[in-house]
Symmetry: C2
Subunit: 154 residues, 2 copies
DNA sequence: CGCCTGAGTCTGTCAATCGAACTCAGGTAT
DNA sequence: ATACCTGAGTTCGATTGACAGACTCAGGCG
């Protein structure tokens, strides 16, 4: 899969500018797991508190998480962090990380099995073209300049 | 999508231990683009040379890339870096990064359009269950302990 | 021998991470 | 009024990684 052209506005690179590092991924993982509070995020990700605070702030600023006020009885109001649709749309990314790890790093099979809620069958991520064909992988894919291509001079 | 159990051997986290940072992703992007040589990798990723060298070495050590000798006429033998199958299996990850960026960060539409080589239609990444149902996203997914689950005590 | 070339490696500076400790800010009890 | 509580940060100094620029390496060739 050689790329005979180059763009200056690569989407991969722009996405990485927001999420391209470990702690952010782990925060997103927890958000998908339903974890919303600072202390729980911290306990489950293991992120140093300063790092976690910075990542949460960044994800809110970028619109992937939103703050929602909550208040435990006897305590003051605080904020939880919830996924937005923009954040939720990173689900394929998290799942592809998981599935690759299941395949190459999990010694005894997948630790977590994602299943279809309605029927219970395992869930997979598959390539498909708009005409309905199964696409097996990068060798069956051709990259073309898209509508937003800003071509890089050779 | 709440997770009512926890594992200590999370595949996402283990994958992130190898690829969870920007430069590694960019190296992989270039590998998928057919770039194989150090100087080309460096030019296209913009990685500092020391960083690039370290990432290439790591990816070779982890089996995602392999070295293959080459020799330009009049020069000495050197090594190129090529994807292994293990590395190629990270294609869904790269594509999900791209598609998310296309949707949320690309102002004028996707810079790069991935198409099916055989028919030309745009390629998408879709969730499907083993029984053939389309799965729309995280809300239709249930996570269960898998065969390799090492459960974390609450 | 010297030159060439691409692939690293080295060095000192800067930035981010890290662990531990500290602060903040509402609610509540005294 | 003050003191305590609690979760969510913030601060601080040490450590680690990134970074730019310069340097080295190692075969081939004249």
């Amino acid at each position: 899969m050689s790329l005979p052209f180059r763009v200056t506005n690569c989407s991969i690179e722009r996405t990485l500018g927001i999420v391209g590092e470990k702690w952010t991924f782990l925060v997103l993982r927890e958000a998908f797991n339903g974890v919303r509070r600072f202390a729980d995020m911290q306990a489950h990700t293991g992120a140093p508190r300063q790092v976690l605070s910075a990542r949460l702030t960044r994800l809110v600023d970028e619109g992937l998480l939103r703050k929602e006020p909550y208040r435990e009885p006897g305590q003051r109001q605080r904020d939880e962090y919830r996924l937005t649709e923009k954040g939720r749309d990173l689900y394929p990314l998290l799942v592809s990380l998981m599935h690759w790890g299941d395949r190459y790093l999990a010694d005894d099979g997948p630790p977590v099995q994602l299943t279809h809620r309605d029927c219970g069958a395992p869930v997979e991520l598959r390539f498909r073209c708009a005409d309905g064909h199964e696409v097996a992988g990068p060798r069956e894919v051709t990259a073309l300049p898209g509508a937003g291509a800003q071509l890089e001079s050779a």
